[in-house]
Symmetry: C2
């Protein structure tokens, strides 16, 4: 069995994770048992949700235990197999963790279909991030042609896809992102109708100006002040979709909630949380549709792929919370 | 025309309204024009929502202008009529304001049908408060038999009805109210399965104990800490119905929102605001059903009827915010 370097949770972070919250362990990869495969991991997905998994709090997934490999989605190649559907050489995606080799249940894997997209796209637009945008927007946001759709974290992996799906639905799409470069990218490269720079603008009035008829669908990836500003600008019967809250994930103390929530009553609006996992039965259909839109150029899926080693995990993770990345952030350990 | 004493908005309150925020004006009642009636007001409804109407803020109804009669629902008798459906002697309910005589459009009136209920019930269980409970719970809360339903402000006009409607739906009903007397009233007189005293309990753990399987429907009349505690105890796919937020209406500054709102994501839950006015087309059916449940004793509709004059309005209004009243609070100026 090859030697396996893994990143493990050494202690629970307070606020933004620091280097010593993680430890590097080198041991031998395990052999796959019946129904399992051994995967050589090539690509590791970095996601805002990881921050929550580091805390010792009940949530939709159990917390990562101290000493456990940090949970992460990945893409890799099967190098030893005890599962008939995934022989050696299969390229697969699954929850492999931040490590070089992973033993995984065959039943938990998804095969990378090169006619649909590249391996990295299976972590981005064709993976849980793209699927999160798809189900969050379509199933929970229920956009109608002509609606004004606002997406926060719009230059991120989920937000960039969500905004483009809203455009495909015939909506007017406004992205909220940090900095003029990202905002220009949204309108120039991704076809958003307008962008608001949350670092520069007075958010509430900026949203009022860009959405004079109010916001019909607000797809929220960030929480905090942007959510509050969106609440203050809802159209009647608006739908708020809670996909994430990256602005709050590193908060030390309980952060204030959206103080404008009573706008839900005044505007007869709803705020709905969802998790992509509940839609697993529809993944295949959604992935095929997303791949089709990518093929026609209707969805552009930005990726920030950082070459490195598993030891670089912490440094790359910080890019997420600094907002350095455009689109999907991936650590590529294949070379 | 008779002399008419009215309570008018003298200045906009800061926090809890004080006596001098209102002024008493005595003038002559106006004669009804074509399609209008003149009503001698007997009963005046006091509602938490009134507090919002006193502020100069856009909301679901325009703010009460300075110098204008304070907006209020009422019941009275038509004493002069230019509307064929409401001859003199008709007992009607409408938005008559805090005054002794009101001119009202005939088209805006609802006739009090004594076979359905008493005049005061047309301000309570058969009026906008009962209808708010009805549509908030049934249309937006969507309770299923076996669900755990939590109602805040449960001893109030809306909450007391909402909880009983949940019981009729086969739900387990938990009320949150202030003080042991109100809590005993909920379980002893109104048939709630349990009650939590928000003044005495550690709310979050008290709700965890009374709702060990989590809250399926939370009907919120109060906002603030109770809403946050409910968010921390949601069952999967829970529905939160935002009916009001009396704990926040007198706040001087922007109050913190529900900091636990990300529970919506973890629990795949929704939080929906609504206004009873949107359901006007269904009022008649709802009122008939409510009257039926009152007749069979399945819904007990507590009322606190205070005899007095319009000049007593401010004093009676304060009872709402002190939480002194049980059920519907009404000022009776008929004697």
């Amino acid at each position: 069995m090859p030697s396996n370097t893994s990143v493990r949770l050494a202690r629970r972070p307070t606020g933004v994770p620091v280097h010593d919250d993680f430890s590097l362990v080198v041991d031998d990869a395990e052999a796959p048992g019946p129904g399992q495969v051994l995967v050589r991991v090539d690509l590791i997905s970095l996601d805002p949700a990881m921050r929550g998994w580091l805390d010792d709090r009940p949530s939709y997934l159990p917390p990562i235990a101290l000493g456990e490999v940090v949970r992460a989605a990945g893409v890799g190649e099967v190098i030893a197999s005890q599962h008939p559907r995934y022989p050696e050489g299969s390229v697969v995606t699954g929850t492999f963790g931040v490590q070089e080799y992973a033993v995984a249940e065959g039943a938990s894997l998804t095969r990378v279909n090169p006619t649909l997209g590249t391996p990295s796209m299976y972590l981005g637009v064709l993976g849980l991030t793209g699927l999160t945008a798809y189900f969050g927007l379509f199933t929970h946001g229920r956009p109608r042609a002509g609606d004004t759709v606002v997406v926060s974290g719009a230059a991120g992996a989920v937000g960039s896809v969500a905004g483009q799906l809203a455009a495909i639905s015939g909506c007017r799409v406004v992205g909220v992102a940090g900095g003029p470069d990202k905002c220009a990218y949204l309108t120039d490269a991704l076809g958003f109708d307008a962008a608001v720079d949350y670092k520069a603008a007075r958010l509430r009035s900026a949203l009022r100006e860009t959405c004079p008829d109010g916001i019909d669908v607000y797809f929220d990836n960030v929480g905090g002040a942007v959510l509050d500003a969106a609440l203050a600008n809802l159209a009647m019967n608006a739908r708020i979709v809670i996909s994430g809250a990256i602005s709050q994930y590193n908060a030390d103390a309980a952060t204030p909630g959206p103080s404008n929530y009573m706008a839900l009553l005044v505007r007869r609006a709803s705020m709905t949380g969802f998790l992509v996992f509940d839609h697993a039965a529809e993944y295949r259909v959604a992935r095929n549709r997303l791949a089709g839109w990518v093929a026609t150029g209707q969805v552009v899926a930005p990726e920030t792929i950082v070459p490195g080693q598993v030891a670089d995990f912490h440094e790359v993770l910080l890019r997420l919370f600094r907002g350095d990345n455009l689109g999907k952030l991936i650590l590529d350990i294949s070379t």
